[in-house]
């Protein structure tokens, strides 16, 4: 069965610092991979997605993520964090066959220090 692990529950960074949020998945093949962001009191918004091809994908708000097949990882990065990036971030996978149900990680809450 597919699964997603986000090992960091909370991360705190200073404004202007770089950011990396980790995501590891378990699946027999390469799944479709997504990162979503959730601001307080709101639903989830798509940041970026990976289906195939170039393993470095660009998203909105200056985020990028790199797919590494050998490590079963899809880590999210941003070179310089802004205070408005404080939110909760979810990694999600969708199997490329079968039911196509989404499996979400448990989320990483990002705090940004001024």
């Amino acid at each position: 069965a597919q699964s997603v692990t986000q090992p960091d529950i909370h991360i705190t960074v200073s404004e202007g610092a770089s950011l990396e949020l980790r995501c590891n998945y378990s699946y027999g093949a390469t799944p479709y991979l997504f990162w979503y962001v959730q601001s307080p009191g709101q639903g989830l918004q798509l940041l970026l997605k990976y289906f195939s091809g170039d393993t470095l994908v660009q998203g909105i708000k200056g985020f990028e993520a790199e797919f590494k097949r050998s490590q079963s990882s899809f880590n999210l990065r941003k070179p310089s964090v802004h205070w408005s990036d404080a939110a909760e971030y979810f990694c999600a996978v969708v199997a490329t066959s079968g039911t196509y149900k989404y499996i979400f990680g448990t989320g990483t809450r990002l705090k940004v220090l001024a």
Binding site: I9, Y32, F34, G41, Q42, G43, L44, Q45, L46, K49, F51, F90, V94, T96, T99, Y100, K101, Y102, F104, G105, T106, G107
Partner: protein, 112 residues
């Protein structure tokens, strides 16, 4: 430009009461989903639908029911509310099964 609309935004129920959480999307998406979000647990899929008249169970369907009579609407029904159903509920829709999902703003439900 409404996207996915959920009503109500907040609700408090007593144990044993019933209610329906409404979800409407205006993007003509075939796929619709209901999730619950509990602190530290991420999102858990309750039910999903691949088109009008077709629904299926997700990870945590017990205590809930759904229907899909139109493409636009996907209501979630709680028949006998229990404290364990206190949660934030999100509805989402997608054009294809493997495409990004569009989320509503959620319904925060407390059962006392």
């Amino acid at each position: 430009n409404a996207g996915v609309t959920q009503t109500p935004k907040f609700r408090i129920l007593k144990i044993g009461q019933s209610m329906t959480l409404q979800c409407t999307q205006d993007m003509n998406h075939n796929y619709m989903y209901w999730y619950r979000q509990d602190p530290g647990m991420g999102l858990k899929l309750i039910y999903y639908s691949v088109g009008a008249g077709i629904t299926d169970k997700g990870e945590v369907p017990n205590g809930y029911n759904v229907s899909r009579s139109t493409t636009e609407d996907f209501p979630l029904r709680l028949e006998l509310a229990a404290p364990s159903q206190t949660s934030v509920y999100f509805c989402a829709s997608g054009g294809q099964a493997d495409q990004p999902q569009h989320f509503g703003d959620g319904t925060r439900l407390s059962i006392l």
